[in-house]
């Protein structure tokens, strides 16, 4: 496996140095403990949004720190949750006196470390709420598992809740809109190849040249089934069905359609996926009112994609359209 790195042990540190050098006007990279915060620090009187998780999913989360989205992001080692210390430090650094919302993907390690951090921050007098993102419909029976995983829908929650915080909503209101987006977004992913964690040196799972994994998580956790490679349209149909049936999305519903690349699939293929997904939604009378296409929640160099569909309401559309200025998403400003 060829990788563009210097030393497997310094991957996250060196990438953070690069992030700091590339975007000094947007963000500051703090050290010991490591977290990324907006360049100007806390915004007085504004609810602060903090997210984080293992590295290897870039631009999630650091690429979404800036006006209209996150106030801070806490990167752990590759595919491993950060510990509570940097989460507490980030929470304290960006608290503007209006409380802090933690946006946490539903993975056991992330949830436990963020919960512990929230307890510690609250002991220091900071009001903390948490939204646990669980948009992945590939995990079927949540009673008998750790529950649905938090995947690409996280970006939509960070954008919409971030806009609500920016317009001056209080902590209850920002938490409520984050919960509402989480309740109305559904996602599912597919892997064509396996990612290789730098310090592990070998692929996270083995998959044949002619096989794909349907319902993959963002660290290569297994999905629903392993099947032979099919044309793009057939693969899209396989994952869009369970997504649409789950909410369910009804005819006449306005949606945001998000085709997310997992890191190793070119944009030209993601648009082929988008084409088919938009066709299917059209046939069902579902209106694609907003869209997002690109590599936003990646799994290192894994080839593959996920589709997320969010049932929009007028307030979400307004908040989605609101200005955002981050390294990875920018419009209106």
């Amino acid at each position: 496996m060829k990788k563009l790195i210097n030393d497997p042990r310094s991957v996250v540190d060196e990438a953070l140095e690069g992030v700091a050098l590339a975007h000094p006007e947007l963000l500051t990279v703090h050290r010991d403990p490591a977290f990324i915060a907006r360049a100007q620090g806390a915004t007085s009187g504004k609810v602060a949004l903090v997210s984080g998780g293992g590295s290897g999913h870039e631009p999630l989360h650091g690429g979404f720190v800036g006006f209209g989205m996150l106030d801070a992001a806490v990167p752990g080692p590759v595919f491993t949750s950060p510990t509570p210390d940097p989460i507490v430090a980030a929470t304290k650094a960006v608290d503007g006196g209006a409380g802090v919302l933690h946006i946490v993907k539903n993975y056991t390690g992330d949830v436990l470390n963020f919960e512990t951090a929230a307890d510690l921050a609250e002991a220091e007098g900071i009001e903390v709420r948490s939204v646990i993102v669980n948009d992945d419909v590939a995990v079927k029976d949540s009673l008998y598992t750790a529950g649905r995983r938090g995947v690409a829908g996280t970006v939509l929650i960070e954008k919409i809740a971030g806009a609500a915080a920016e317009r001056g909503d209080d902590l209850d209101a920002v938490t409520a809109i984050a919960e509402r987006v989480n309740a109305r977004v559904r996602s599912m992913g597919v892997a064509l190849t396996a990612p290789t964690v730098p310090h592990a040196g070998e692929p996270s799972f083995t998959i044949g040249d002619d096989e794909i994994e349907i319902g993959i998580g963002i660290h290569g956790e297994p999905g629903r089934e392993r099947i032979g490679l099919e044309p793009a349209d057939a693969i899209v149909d396989r994952i869009l069905g369970p997504i649409l049936e789950d909410l369910p999305f009804e005819s006449g519903q306005k949606v945001l359609l998000f085709v997310n690349g997992m890191g190793g699939s070119p944009l030209v293929e993601l648009y082929i996926v988008f084409r088919r997904a938009a066709q299917v939604l059209g046939e069902r009378g579902i209106e694609v009112a907003r869209s997002l296409v690109g590599n936003h929640v990646t799994s290192l160099e894994m080839q593959g994609f996920s589709i997320s569909v969010l049932a929009l309401d007028e307030e979400m559309i307004e908040l989605w359209d609101a200005p955002v200025q981050t390294a990875a998403l920018r419009w209106g400003r």
């Binding site: 056991t108 998580g217 660290h219």
Partner: protein, 214 residues
């Protein structure tokens, strides 16, 4: 092997040093177990945590067993990461609170310590016996410790009973389907593999018994 009616700060220190040694010795075995049904970092993470604990202990002079365990707790929470850091850290934190200010731990105090630690893990991780997690080692261990204490066993007997039960509990996870943690996504594919957190828990219980009895 001498009988010990109570265990003090010296025991707490030697237990934790033995934990660090046994985790280091079993590091690759824990990694192997975790690679089969998790993400393969359990041995690495726990070894890093206990190595940091040893450094912290060398640089401080804890006065009571509770002080030792509180230092272990905060260090594990800060250095282990993943799910194991908060879970083992919470165990030591809640356990330490249950014996706060006690200089010498008798069988009663040890049971209170273990039960509070277990309750902390349950509250944090929300797992029950049979979910194929570290609780499958912890709950039988606490129950065995309590029953030994109720029938008049001393501190060493209580810890030995807990260690035996934790080892049986760890082995009992092998045929189970996981309902918590990353292994839960594997469904039937997790059957036949021992839970790495239950296995590392059993190592810590055995270390407690061995250091209490010599």
């Amino acid at each position: 092997m001498t009988e010990n009616s109570t265990l003090g700060t010296d025991w707490a220190l030697s237990w934790i040093r033995e934990c660090a040694r046994t985790v280091g010795e079993n590091r690759s075995e824990l990694v192997r177990l975790d690679r089969e049904i998790g993400d393969g970092d359990h041995g690495e993470n726990l070894d890093r945590g206990f190595t940091a604990v040893l450094q912290k202990l060398d640089a401080s002079e804890p006065a009571t067993p509770a002080d030792v365990f509180k230092l272990v707790a905060t260090t594990l929470i800060s250095t282990v990461g993943g799910a194991a850091g908060p879970l083992f850290g919470t165990a030591f934190l809640k356990g330490s609170a249950a014996i706060s200010g006690v200089d010498e731990l008798d069988a009663d105090a040890l049971v209170a310590f273990l039960a509070a630690a277990r309750d902390g893990v349950v509250a944090r991780g929300k797992a029950e016996v049979g979910d194929k997690t570290m609780i499958d080692a912890w709950t039988p261990a606490v129950e065995a410790a309590r029953s030994e204490q109720e029938s008049g066993g001393d501190a060493h007997a209580v810890l030995s009973a807990a260690a035996d039960a934790a080892e049986e509990g760890a082995a009992s996870t092998e045929p189970l389907v996981a309902r918590k943690g990353r292994a839960s996504y594997l469904g039937e594919r997790a059957v036949g593999h021992r839970d790495p957190g239950a296995q590392s828990s059993a190592l810590l219980f055995r270390a407690a018994a061995e250091t209490a009895g010599s």
